[in-house]
Amino acid sequence: MIDKSRYTLAESVADIADGAVVLVGGFGMAGMPSELVDALIEQGARDLTIVSNNAGNGETGLAALINKGRVKKMICSFPRQADSHVFDALYRAGRIELELVPQGNLACRMEAAGAGLGAIFTPTAYGTELAEGKECRTIDGKHYVLEYPIQGDYALIKAHQGDRWGNLIYNKSARNFGPIMARAARCTIAQVSDIVGLGELDPEAVVTPGIFVQRVVAV
């Protein structure tokens, strides 16, 4: 029997190594897998590259991980927020690297990784400083910038319900990056509010098929 939901929070993140690339779901706090991030803080991995839309809010979750000095590099679209003081201070002190990626490019670079594509030509950021030094091409008269996939070693995401095969459904706008991060990581760990029996999720409504999910933890 395959049971992807057999892990505790601590067990689910135990093998995340120093230097790993970790995709962290959420848009602001909606969909932020705070309990998994707390387990990662407890676990102690360092020199992480974190890919997430924002760079932490307040003092908890991703902000706490950054505050502990565990993050070497952030890849995100919108680090600056009213309550991003933890990241802001480290960034200004030169103690954390930032790769700023437009939000749609962040999404499609992870989609490319999940779909096995070698790269993508995206129109976003053409002619701006975020495209400087990048290969460009004109296709049917429109300008595109070459961008490479973002592959995660791990993804930490938050879903609403999951089953022991890893099928997931989400809650409202907390879905945001979850489904595409699940596809883009070698090992996807989903925290869910509720683990349900096989067959209880409507197959027509499953958002993330279990093949993209390796571990499910109820919190």
Binding site: F27, A30, S77, G104, C108, P123, Y126
Partner: protein, 223 residues
Amino acid sequence: MSDKSIANESMIKLTREQLAARVALDIPEGAYVNLGIGLPTLVGNYLPGEGDYFLHSENGLLGMGPAPASGEEDPELINAGKQYVTLLPGGCYFHHGDSFAMIRGGHIDICVLGAFQVAANGDLANWHTGDPDAIPAVGGAMDLAVGAKQIFVMMEHLTRSGESKIVPQCSYPLTGIGCVKRIYTDLAVIDITETGLRVREMVAGLSFEQLQALTAADLVDAT
């Protein structure tokens, strides 16, 4: 600024609410619309309640509704500005891949964005002042700039220090090139066309000459 004093005497600037109401007049029923963070979000309050308007929020909502009643807020139902919102009957949720396919794939009819500067050729600068101490943040602005069928900019005509935000060339880092179609300010409505910046409307008490004096780029009177 001496230019500023020219017009201050007689012109009646639009308030933020009046500006939002003016933009809303140009959004047809049935349009798929993305409203940027800040001032553009106000436009949603002025779309006629009896019509069907499809508000898109890039964090994964279509058919976004107004703010919830006090006590009804759901932390997992927010807009791109991370404010609590609601979903209209018929609305739906989706992930970022779908959301930005809607944007970059040309499915969004109108996007209303704020701006630091707009150039005479439609270049847009709205994500970064270039200040070395500023934490850069771009979000979905560059995707919207290249992807929406029409980009409307909504902003105050002048900066707080009285400088024109409509310029011959942007001095701030660009968000997108040649993407803005129309500018709504607290003083005027201006179309960006191949024959220049065509002024369609001005607020009461403002002459074309006064507007031109307040604007760093050349204007054409098309009122």
